[in-house]
């Protein structure tokens, strides 16, 4: 604030009354969407045995996909990452995704091995 050669990014985040109405509309639409997805998840968890007997793997993958969809909306809309410049989006998401994919891969691979070893020797 004291130096006038530095751009004060926080100041130009302001918006007008009219823009605010549009933004609030988006917020409530996303809220509705997240609530519906959560309700679907809970209903699926409670009734999948009657609805899709024996399809546990399919139900499980549905949960994981719905979770990722929910996470995308939270990060992009609620945390405003979707409104930021593309380079900061990449800076936040790509290293994290890269590291996580590797971690998931290695955890599945190794736990498979440990599981088989225990089955064999215990």
């Amino acid at each position: 604030m004291e130096r006038d050669d530095i751009i004060e990014y926080s100041l130009d985040a302001h918006h007008s009354e009219e823009e605010g109405r549009k933004i609030r509309r988006t917020i409530w639409m996303v809220t509705l969407f997240l609530a519906v997805v959560t309700a679907v998840e809970v209903a699926l968890g409670a009734f999948w045995k009657e609805w899709f007997p024996g399809a546990w793997h399919l139900v499980k993958w549905t949960f994981i996909v719905l979770t990722l969809v929910k996470a995308t909306y939270i990060v992009m809309t609620f945390m405003h990452l979707g409104d930021e410049r593309r380079n900061i989006r990449a800076l936040i998401l790509l290293p994290y995704a890269l590291f996580l994919l590797y971690l998931v891969f290695i955890a599945i691979w190794e736990s498979n091995y440990v599981n088989r070893a225990w089955e064999m020797f215990l």
Binding site: M1, I6, I7, E8, Y9, S10, L11, D12, A13, H14, H15, S16, E17, E19, G20, I23, R24, I27, T31, L34, A35, T38, A39, E41, V42, G45, A46, K60, F63, I64, T67, K70, A71, I74, V75, T77, F78, M79, H80, D83, E84, R85, N87, I88, L91, I92, P95, Y96, F99, L100, L103, A107, I108, E110, S111, N112, V114, N115, W118, E119
Partner: protein, 288 residues
């Protein structure tokens, strides 16, 4: 959002120095960096849980069987309470983003209103989690193992776990092998003399949960429950404290004098992150 982030600026200018190439303030960028590292911590915990669960050779407890109580109600409500907690946290996230929006319009009263609801939602969530922990630790009666290796669930009318055999309505229900918390289909209640004999010959009686053993499944199950939901609950608690401090500062007019409400935005990022983590905990610990 408007302003610098949406302007078309050439790469030469963006990266040419004297400005943030990301068109973002230092504080907000550092909050994002912190969130990435915190996200890695939570991912590590959840992936460790997945590792242990996948490597485990026996039966692993199922969320909808373990978490099926609702405060003040009798009977089975699988995951309903956890779903309510999730809804509370998502709605407090919504009030937070509305506070941020009000801040962008320099609407001090709006920020105060929405931030107040956010703090209230956070407190409600922490309180719900305290109930959940208490219920998890006390358990629902526990089980005994007999010398032939069978497992029997212990029931009585007063939910007495100190001396269950002498409480009114004491009976046992044979458990399904390789399954936690479920009685055998159509298994009749073992009562009276027969129940007393089994009780007296028991090898061990396990009820509730602690760090070394629990009635739900392998010890790691309770350990991960305590650590993951505990670590998340600690984040919620610190988030409530941060939001409360920011709320006091808003009420004193600190940010209005400063000319922008970016502090609300930064506290908001942290708060949304806490909500985001819960979405994953809900899926990977309770649902899947």
């Amino acid at each position: 959002m408007s302003g610098e982030a949406t302007k078309a600026i050439s790469g030469d200018v963006l990266w040419g120095g004297g400005r943030s190439p990301f068109s973002i303030s230092y504080g907000k960028m550092m909050m994002w960096f912190f969130l990435v590292s915190d996200a890695l911590t939570f991912s590590g915990l959840l992936i460790a849980y997945g590792f242990v669960r996948h490597a485990y050779t026996g039966a692993w407890p199922i969320g909808e069987e373990v978490f099926r109580a609702f405060p003040g109600l009798h009977g089975d409500y699988p995951l309903l309470y956890v779903a309510l907690m999730t809804a509370i946290l998502i709605f407090s996230s919504v009030t937070m983003v509305l506070a941020v929006e009000a801040g962008h319009r320099m609407d001090k009263r709006g920020v105060i209103k929405w931030l107040f609801f956010t703090v209230a939602g956070g407190l409600l969530f922490v309180g719900s989690q305290a109930w959940e922990w208490s219920h998890f630790i006390h358990g629902s009666g526990g089980y005994i193992t007999s010398p032939d290796g069978a497992k029997y669930w212990v029931h009585n009318e007063t939910h007495d776990t100190h001396d269950p055999a002498h409480a009114p309505g004491f009976h046992l229900v044979k458990a399904v092998p390789g399954h936690y918390l479920i009685g055998e289909e159509g298994a009749h209640h073992i009562e009276g003399e027969a129940a007393m004999t089994l009780w007296n010959d028991r090898l061990e009686y396990i009820d509730g949960a602690n760090m070394t053993r629990n009635e739900y499944g392998p010890p790691q199950y309770a350990n991960f429950f305590f650590f993951i939901t505990g670590f998340h609950g600690f984040h919620v608690f610190s988030g409530v404290v941060i939001n409360f401090i920011v709320l006091l500062m808003v009420m004193k007019g600190v940010f209005h004098r400063r000319g922008h409400y970016e502090m609300v935005e930064k506290a908001g990022l942290y708060w949304h992150f806490v909500d985001l983590v819960w979405v994953f905990v809900f899926t990977f610990f309770y649902l899947v």
